[in-house]
Symmetry: C2
Subunit: 125 residues, 2 copies
């Protein structure tokens, strides 16, 4: 297995997630060694949830998994780039296609992204 | 100024850098508050170098700066997406266009990226 350098962020590496079809950057999450191994073994993106402090199978509850199509490693072995098919069309828990749905215009943030679902309908209240 | 959440990574936020013209992900770096402010003030990407432990004006020495065309902030205010024009054509210190020039094929890494310059000619020996 390809070894990543998990030493720089206390056992984590950032993972950039890009839509395999459009190139849109959907989100950034973090992987620990277990998340990396589970991603390679299953072909579905796994991360380490810093807020819940545990392995996170993205979409494991909602069904909105990320099917990994391609994996790239950066020059320092400390960052991963996943090109994925985002099942359900939205990577963000807000229901937006991408977590980067706000653009800086001058000194203001303007919502520019596309809403795919209503989070209340997917996650409940 | 838009406030980012620098608390989750000991004063840093990840910055994903994407080619504004092609959508290719070029690199991931980190910003501290000073790097964020300098990026906004100058329109050229500034990061915090974790290896040198100091502010890093990307391309400040080589001239291969990143002209920031668009800035997006993620849903949690803890990650930045820059769309840039990469002067010189290569973001990676190896001379490759992108730092993500190695693709995972099975359990092997295959070099797939495009080399733009010879690092020995740009940085010396």
């Amino acid at each position: 297995m390809v070894e990543l350098d998990f030493t720089k962020l206390d056992g984590l590496v950032p993972a950039v997630v890009q839509d395999a079809a459009t190139g849109e950057v959907l989100m950034v999450a973090f992987m620990n060694p277990e998340a990396w191994e589970r991603t390679l073994a299953t072909g579905e993106a796994h991360y380490f949830s810093r807020s819940r402090n545990q392995l996170w199978h993205k979409g494991g509850t909602s069904g909105h998994v990320q099917k990994v199509k391609e994996i790239y490693i950066d020059c320092d072995n400390d960052t991963v780039l996943l090109k994925v098919e985002q099942v359900g069309g939205a990577a963000c828990h807000t229901g937006m296609r991408s977590c980067f749905y706000r653009k800086l215009e001058g000194d203001k943030l303007v919502e520019v992204g596309e809403r795919v679902f209503d989070p209340k309908e997917v996650y409940g209240k």
